[in-house]
Every structure is written in C-alpha cells, then in structure tokens.
Amino acid sequence: MSQATAPAVPVVQRVRRRRPIVLLLRRAWRLTRTKVGVALVLLLLGIAVIGPLFAPYTADEFAGTPYEHPSAHARLGTDGLGHDVLSRFLWGGRSILGLSAAATALGLVLGVTIGLLAAYSRGRLDDLLMRLMDVILAFPSIVLALVAVATVGPKLWLLVLVVGLTTMPRVARVTRGASLEIVERDYVQAAEAMGEPRLKILSGEILPNVTSPLMVEASLRLTYAIGLIAGLSFLGFGRQPPAADWGLMINENRLGLTIQPWGVVMPVLAIVVLTIGTSLIGDGVARASAGIDPRAGAE
C-alpha cells in the first residue's frame, strides 16, 4: 500500500470511553442482588453513622428500670441495667463497622502486597511467603484472635491488627492466584524488556488487572471481619461497657432474652443484614466479572 491507499485507519466513532473497572461495576449494578446488597449496606451504614444523632439518650444514660418493655420513653424497652435499647443500638454500630472496615483494609493491603510479590518473584521468595501464609491459615482465626487478646488485653488496635492478619493470607492467596496468569502476559514482558522498574510493574501492570477478583474478595473478607469482630466483642474482647457495641449488646442482654428480646434481636438483625448486604455486593461483582449472568450483559 503506497500513500494513495494509506488513509488514516478510521476508528469506530461511537465509543463509550470508560475505565474497564467502571464498566465492571456498571454491569454488576444491573443485577438485582447488587442493588439489594448496596441498599442493605447503605441502610446499616446510615444507622451506624447518623443514627446517634437521632438517639433519644446517650449510650450509657439510664432510661428506666432493667428489662422494661417498649414504651413511649424507651421505644425498644430497656436492657439489663436500665439503658435505652434503641439508643444503645443506634450508638453501637460505629465501632463494629469501623473496626471491621479497618481490619479488612489492613488485611487487603498486606495480603495484596504479599500476593503480588509472591506471584511476580516466583522461586524461593514465593515459597517462603506462601508457606508463611499457610501457617497462619492453619489456625482458626478466632483462636488466633483469642490468644492475642488474652495476652495483650482487649485493645481496639489489637482487634484490628489480629483480624487484619487473619484476613491477609486469604487475600494473598487470591492475589497470587490471579496475578500468576497476568505475570505471563505479553504486556508484562514488554515492560520487562523495556526495563520498567519492578515496583512499577507490580503497581502499574499487574495490580490493575487483578482488581476484579480483589473486589469480590474484599467484600467477602469484610463479611467475615464483621462476623469475627462481632464475635470477639460478644466475648468481651472488643469495646468495654458501658460503651455500646452490637456484639457486646447481644452478650449483655442474652440473659433477659425471654423477658425483653429487643436488646438481642436488634443487634443480631443488624449484623445479619450487614453481612448479607456485603456478600450480595461481592456476589454481584463476581457474577459480572465472570460474565456468567446474562442479566449483567456482556463486555
């Protein structure tokens, strides 16, 4: 082809210029389950964040006698010490949401770093890192958490650290698995041949291409973290009374379950709805990225 027959190749005009990750989220959004999940999580997030503004009492104010039934001045009755259940419920979400989000974030950062390093380096470093992760995985996370808290004491930062550390190996596995295939791609090879710094290859070439599985994993890990943190604070290793916390509330009020169930029912319901919400979102993103659900549409 000489100049005469070499026009600029026209590019398809009607293009939607969107980042691939945005396209994925859009497709996930088309699924009902994602919408329901987002609605549930937003509802709980709303209760935890702005709920305290509407609480008739502070978390440790006494509103009446113990185990009072719902009435005009205590809409959901009172707990074993005479605190207003509704107020403690509204105050008690912040800690559990904040702690589990922080723990998940920590686990993600550590896990992604280790997973990327393992997949990219191969060889000995890979073996070393992954065996280390296996050791952590071998312990049930709740046992690991109990040991740590029993040694150091119920500190909130410790809760975040321990739950983050138990989240790390699972995230690392997923990251490594997804990255192993990406490392072989020609664009990584091209960057290698040009001598792109290794850190830049990890962050610029590999990481952006494993975000879809990581998003799914993140919401799954968040679900687990919520459960774990709620469990630990139920056992008394989280926030200490008289502070309000959903896990703690369940423990405080379980003795009065037959007399005044709301002190248990409300936090349980909240935790259940929250975990279902996060896992629905994760499932929606997973379905959209796997392309198995025709309702999400194709790429």
Binding site: S2, V9, V11, E192, A193, G195, E205
Partner: protein, 594 residues
C-alpha cells in the same frame, strides 16, 4: 446436480436480549460430496452459521428465523432429545481447537466408544476402522492413550474420526486447522477431502484462510458482517469475483509464489447493532454509488451457480481483476556493517534444549525473516535477542559489543535500541491503561520529556502507524485487533529503535488486516531505516517484506540466504517440504483449471 443434502434458507440468528441480528438472510445449499467453504473475517458470523447447522447458538443468542434442512427434513424446530440424536449422528461438528474438544481425563478408546454408544452405531471393529480412516495407528496401545499424549495433528484426527464415526450426512468444520502447522494442516485437509469424497458427505468448511479454502472447497461462500455477499465456484469466485469485498480479500492474501504488494482494506467491518442502512460494505467500497447506501442489495445470479449481493456487480465484473502490484524494492542493507549478530547460541527451557548452535546476522536497514513451524525455536531465539529469555549461552552482539542476557542486565540505551513486537495484540496491551499511557511508556523510560512534548511525540508516533491521535484516551478493548497491533507497533517505535523484532505479529489477525500491517511494517522499515527480524510461520509473507530468510527446524537453522534463492530453489529437504505444504491459492487454482 444431485439434490442437495443440506439446505439453509433465510437463517437469522440474533442477540437474545436486544433482537439485534448477528447473521441474517443466510441461504445456501450443499450437495453430497461437496465441500462449501465459508470464508469471512473475524466477526463476520461464520461460526454462528456453523453452529446453527446443529441447531445450536452461543450463550445469549438465538435462532430467530429461517430453515435448515437435511435431506429435506427440517432440523431447527425439534425437541431437545431429537436434536441430541441428530448431532453427531446426522450432522457432526469438528471444532477449531481439538485440545479443548477432547476430554483430557478419558482415554481415546473411551471417547471414541462413547460416540458410537450414544448413537448405537457399529461394534468393536468399527473403532479400528475409524482410526484407520484418519490414518492413525489403530492398535490397543494407541487407544489406551490420553489426549495429552497425542500431538495437535493427532488430536485433530481423533476429532475428525469422531465426527465421521456415525457416517453423518452433513459435517461442519469450524477452522479445524487454525492451530496446526502447515505440514499437519496439509495432511488433515487431505484426510477431510478424502472422507467427504468416499462417503458422500456434505461438508461446510469454515475458515478465514482463503488459500486453504481454495485448496479444499468446490464452492465458496463469502460472508461479510453477517450476510453472505457472494457464492460461487472457487475458481470463478477467486478469479472473477463480482463483489468488491471478495476482490479486496483476494488481493490481501499473501502468495508464496510471487513478490506481491499486499493491500489491506481500510476501515473495519461494522459490528452487530452498528450496521449501516444499505450495503454493509458501502463505506469501505470504491465502487459504491448512492443506491448502495439506501438499500441492502438483493441476491442476484451472475453466472452458473454464482450469486452475488451487489448493485454494482456488472461494473465490478467489467473491471478486470487488478494485476497484483509487485512489492516495492527493499532498501539496500549495508554490506559491511553488522547490527545484530548471533553466534553459536544454545538455549534451553528448563532442562530441555530448544536451540542448537544457532547463527544469525541482521545488518542495519535489513529485514531478515525467521521461518519455522511451532516448536522450532524461532520465538525463543527472538526472545533471547530481546532479553526476555536468559537461559542461553553463545555470543550475542549489537554492533560488535556483547549483549548481556536479560533486558535488565543491559543498559538503557541498548534497551531503547532493541524493541520487540509481540504476537497477539490482545495480550500485549495492558487492558487497564489508555493507548496514550501505553505508547508513552517507552518515552517515560528512555526520554526525559515534559508533558507537552511527550503528548506530541505520542500523537506523532500514532500518526506514523496510521492511527488518529484521538485514540489516546481510549482503552485497548475499544479498538479492533488490527488497531491494537498498530498501537503495539507504535509503542515499539516510540523508543526510536534501530532494531525491531516482530514475533508472528500478524498471526492473530485477519488477512485484510494482516496485509495492512505488513505493508505498514515494510514502509516503516524503509522510513526509519530499521533492522528487522521478522519471525513468522507463514512462508507466503516473507517475499513481500524480507531480503534474507533463515529457516528453522527443531532448534537449528537448516537453510538461510536471499529470500528469492531459498524460495525458488530450496536446498534443504525440510524447506522443500514446508514450501510444498504451504497452501497457495495460485497453485490450487492452477491445479483446478488444469
């Protein structure tokens, strides 16, 4: 002419959710013993048609209209159990990738018995017969093997044996030789041809490779954007096509027998849902008039069993087929100096040695083609030079100074001078980066440019590969395969290299796109005075682009020299075999006319 075995009438397949047509108004018929070649470029809908013959569609699509009849009996409107009995029994299918069609966990015997049992056909001795038909060993040892213990060609033969097992009336072959070497391909094609002849099977052979189709098919249907635009006898169609698209397609085919310029077709085929009113080819057609954009042309008969959908077919037919232009002269290489020199290189993958004592020289401004079949070690050699394969010994020099193994051991200047273009543009561009970021990568690494300067350099580099700078903010998935390969080339050129290694850069592309890319590479090589190592399995390409050729087999260079000398008078037995097995349209047509 006997009554057709297979009749397809007005077939329409559409996207389930939107009702947008993928293919429409597809009609053809195939007689017993006849092979109809269905050719088209990727996205033309040829595989959709192939699957529809089995009453099947891909997920998300459905057969929305038309009829498919075998021996006069409709096969589309059947209940699932009837369809199952039909598939593999009356109509059978040979897939593109035999490795994924065979169950890796089952022995060959089990898989062959399964198909016979499913259709209650034949007994024990039939098994041996089936294998003998496709020229495979038919002893127990072979039957006990697992698919991974067979070569690609053998796997495809097993798939063919299974397809012919129950003496089907119709057989659908969906690019069955795409992943195979030319030698294996030649054998598989001969087997298919023989079986169709002997058993009077009506075969639909789907392919993007016109040279293969010319060698095998008796009639050819050309698909473009979901419609069949021309049908006719293979000789008529390729020598005197009445549709402009067929003409351009034929001109894009590389030909091993002569040095032609390859001409691509500008623009891209419209995708489903974006097809224009009127003739779909009109926007890319030099014959187009006003009528072409107003209505889709109907099928018109222009000769003996020669149908075409074009308003301008008389004009097209009146225009003599353009004599193929010879390729432009290659630039003169420096006789004395040497750009890249490879001396006595031995390389290994793990413990397995793949290169044996290889010598190769590329002079400045010279294009050397490295030809070989898959597994010959040609890519490994290219990767050694590019610094992507470190496990080798021997001498590797750039302008006389030794090149360390591994790109990271080389200095920045060397890495800049030596650029590599990968085989598949679907794999070599980071899907999460914009085109601007991708092409800007070498600039960031090798040049300290400000934002403005870098932006201008990226734009001018994109223009050099005939892409509009407006693609800069786009992502790779928004571009077609050919455009993506241009981006990959632009990334290499942005570094202003002196030596470019091209590894099978057109093997993932359609012929018309391949022609344009080859043309571009040849032009860029002249313009930028590049040394070029052009790695390919396709002998037909090298006359157009290369001055010298090295033929590789089994990790050794078996023959090298000037391209014309090697192709016209091959000295080595392997080169001769390779040449003989390379499908050539000229040769096929000449044989048919004789």
């Amino acid at each position: 002419m006997t009554a057709p075995v297979l009749e397809v009438e007005g077939l329409r397949v559409e996207v389930e959710s939107t009702g947008v047509d993928i293919v429409d108004e597809v009609s053809f018929e195939i007689a017993a013993g006849e092979v109809l070649g269905l050719v088209g470029e990727s996205g033309s809908g040829k595989s959709t048609v192939a699957l529809a013959l089995l009453g099947h569609t891909r997920r998300g699509a459905r057969i929305a209209g038309g009829e498919v009849r075998v021996d006069g009996r409709d096969i589309l409107h059947r209940r699932p159990p009837e369809l199952r009995a039909l598939r593999g029994g009356t109509v059978s299918y040979i897939p593109q990738d035999p490795a994924s069609a065979l169950n890796p966990a089952l022995r060959i015997r089990t898989q062959l018995e399964e198909i016979l049992a499913a259709h209650r056909y034949g007994g024990r001795d039939r098994l041996q017969e089936m294998l003998a038909e496709v020229l495979l060993p038919h002893d127990d040892a072979f039957l006990r093997r697992y698919p991974h213990q067979l070569s690609g060609g053998q796997q495809q033969r097993v798939a063919i044996a299974m397809a012919f097992a129950c003496r089907p009336r119709v057989i659908v072959l969906d690019e069955p030789t795409t992943g195979l070497d030319v030698t294996t391909q030649a054998h598989v094609l001969a087997t298919v041809r023989h079986l169709c002849d002997t058993h009077g099977v009506a075969a639909l052979y789907v392919s993007h490779d016109l040279a293969v189709v010319a060698a095998l098919a008796t009639r050819v249907a050309v698909m473009y954007a979901g419609r069949i635009v021309e049908t006719g006898r293979e000789r008529v169609l390729f020598r005197a096509s009445a549709h402009p698209y067929t003409r351009r397609l034929v001109e894009a085919i590389p030909e091993v027998s002569g040095r032609h310029a390859l001409e691509g077709i500008a623009g891209t085929a419209p995708r489903p849902g974006q097809r224009p009113d009127g003739c779909f080819f009109a926007p890319r057609c030099s014959f187009a008039v006003d009528a072409c954009v107003e209505a889709f042309p109907p099928v018109e008969r222009v000769g003996d069993r020669h149908d075409v959908r074009c308003f301008r077919h008389t004009e097209v037919l009146a225009t003599a087929a353009r004599a193929r232009r010879p390729a432009p002269e290659l630039p003169a290489a420096d006789a004395e100096s040497v750009l890249i020199e490879v001396r006595g290189v031995n390389a290994a993958h793990g413990d397995r040695q793949v290169l044996f004592d290889v010598d190769l020289t590329v002079k400045p401004r010279q294009c050397v083609a490295l030809v070989g079949e898959s597994g010959s070690g040609k890519t490994t050699l290219a990767r050694c030079i590019a610094g992507l394969h470190r496990n080798f010994d021997g001498e590797l020099t750039l302008r006389g100074s030794p090149l360390p193994a591994g790109a990271r051991a080389r200095n920045r200047e060397t890495r800049r001078e030596l650029q590599y273009v990968f085989q598949s543009p679907y794999n070599s561009l980071n899907p999460r980066k914009t085109i601007g970021q991708i092409v800007g990568q070498p600039l960031r690494l090798f040049y300290d440019l400000g934002y403005r300067d870098a932006h201008d350099r990226i734009a001018s580099t994109l223009e050099r590969v005939r892409l509009s700078p407006s693609v800069m903010p786009r992502y790779p998935h928004e571009l077609s395969g050919g455009e993506r390969q241009r981006v990959a080339i632009a990334r290499a050129l942005a570094a202003e290299p002196t030596m470019l290694v091209c590894d099978e850069i057109t093997s993932a592309l359609d012929v018309s796109v391949q022609a344009a890319i080859i043309d571009l590479i040849a032009e860029l090589q002249r313009e930028m005075q590049l040394g070029l190592l052009f790695v390919t399995h396709n002998l037909a390409l090298i006359r157009t682009i290369a001055e010298e050729v090295a033929v590789m087999s089994g990790g050794r260079i078996v023959e090298s020299g000037k391209v014309d000398d090697v192709l016209d008078a091959p000295q080595d037995a392997y080169t001769r075999a390779l040449l003989a097995d390379t499908p050539s349209m000229e040769a096929a047509l000449a044989a048919a006319e004789a």
